[in-house]
Amino acid sequence: MSAVAPARPAPRPSPLFAYAPALTGLATVVAFFVLMEVLIRVGVISRFIVPPPSEIIGSFYRVITEEHVFRRFLLTLGECLTAGVMITVFGVAGGVLMHRYKLLQQACETWVAAFAAAPVVLAYPLFMVIFGRSAWTIIMIGFVAALPPVILKTLEGLSGTRKVLVNVGKSFNLSGSQQFWKIMFPAALPTIFVGIRLGLIFALINIVGVEFLINYGGLGQLINDLAERYDLAGTYAAICFVILVSVVFFMALEKVERWLRPVD
């Protein structure tokens, strides 16, 4: 019979190991920039199409100070939040109505789903006719483009409420409105929030896009301005800023979602 070796505690993983995925991700981005820098400097990619990353990074300070990027950021954020409030109110209400009235659901669900894939931004001239060259054109396009995922996810969340939870409500003799507010709506909330998150991302993309197209407002207009001036490094720096804002926005929404959904 062989002797059993005494159990030894597993070695503690190094702190670096815990950050490995994040560090690898960062290294990939850095490697991409280095590769682009080399390809541009040796002339494989024309610097008149894509400026070297070092120039883009160098123009960040200029874009922030001279182009009032924070004021523009707040403008875009304000438009996004307004559209966000609107999609939450009208999107959730639309989903609830479609869940409540089956005829409405059968009549509209396919249309709403199809609308989610439609390039609403192309209809910007129509919105300009209705709302003028104003922030409302931008907000309304963001709102219309972002509405379908909120409606569809609200509908999905309410329809997906587990039957046993509904039966628990019935067993406690809940009224229709109690059943909705105390069981169905909280049960559907995580799915509804996924819809709102998707909607806000759709809204942000469309809002920046329309700002660019109609040369009005915040970050989109800044990109348009810089491109018109053929300030390539500045244009790419502004694009990087929009990407950065999107990432921060996305992460903040994830945090809020996690806070709203305690533990599954």
Binding site: L165, S171, L174, A187, R261, V263
Partner: protein, 279 residues
């Protein structure tokens, strides 16, 4: 030892009279419950046992008032029920805690519906949490608990509404055998402590014999009452009783009744599967 039971005068809290349920399916009408009549006495633990697909859960829904399209009547304290009744508290087979509420808020749910002040309902909820052995987990969310603990939360929530009859549909079906036996102990202890009238729907013979005063044996489709078995085992009981000779005799005798029904159910399922495959 095993004898059909007649209702005892004055002691019936629930009377089911001539319950008949038929469903229309794609393959024609199916009789789920066929003219079943029985009574539940004040303070007793009654189990309904039968093979899978015999209509036990349909019967659970009828008694709980969730299924109203049936013939026959269910009376609680002499009052005919036409829907969910405040005297009947239901514990479901599936996990039914609210994931967005912590343990205390889950258990306090029925008290919240009565408009009880928050401090009072939390205090009362904590009493029931303690009763089911979950003290220390008051602020945990269901996602942080095991399956057995979640079922105890559901049980505490139902008990908090102080029902006259506790109606349970295979509440431990999804749990492993050891947890099931230990939770059986807990339910027995609570039932004996509160003198809670309990009606348990189950397909588990051990569970039924361990806990019940009487067991109603059902036939496979259509679900009819085959016979009523009085369980004459001493109380208070715990899961230790499963090792006794008398316990084994009850299990064997009930299995004799059920084996034929379960075999019929199995043959029926096989024939159905063959038919499905052929078409």
């Amino acid at each position: 030892m095993l004898s059909p039971s007649a209702p005892k005068a004055g002691g019936d809290i629930l009377v089911a009279d001539d319950i008949y349920v038929r469903f229309d399916t794609a393959e024609g009408p199916v009789t789920a419950v066929d003219h079943m009549s029985f009574n539940v006495r004040q303070g007793e633990f009654l189990s309904v046992i039968g093979p899978s697909g015999c209509g036990k859960s349909t019967l659970f829904n009828v008694i709980g008032g969730l299924l109203t399209s049936h013939d026959g009547t269910v009376k609680v304290g002499g009052e005919t029920i036409a829907g969910p009744h405040k005297s009947i508290g239901m514990v479901f087979q599936e996990e039914s805690t609210f994931p967005w509420r912590n343990v205390t808020d889950n258990v306090a749910f029925p008290l919240e519906l009565t408009g009880m002040p928050k401090a009072k309902r939390i205090e009362r909820a904590r009493r029931f949490i303690q009763l089911v052995g979950l003290a220390g987990f008051e602020n945990r969310f269901p996602g942080e608990l095991s399956g057995g603990m979640r079922q105890r939360v559901s049980l505490a929530r139902t008990l908090a509404s102080e029902p006259k009859i506790l109606l349970m549909d295979e509440p431990f079906a999804a749990l492993d055998e050891q947890t099931r036996l230990l939770l059986g102990d807990k339910v027995l202890q609570i039932q004996q402590q509160l003198k809670q009238t309990t009606l348990l729907i189950t397909h588990n013979i051990t569970e039924a014999v361990q806990m019940s005063d009487r067991i109603l044996v059902m036939t496979y489709r259509p679900g009819k009452l085959k016979r009523i078995v009085e369980i004459d085992l001493p109380r208070p009981r715990t899961s230790e009783i499963v090792g006794s000779e008398a316990f084994g005799r009850y299990v064997a005798e009930i299995w004799n009744d059920l084996r034929e029904e379960a075999s019929r159910g199995m043959r029926d399922e096989e024939a159905h599967a063959l038919h499905e495959h052929a078409s």
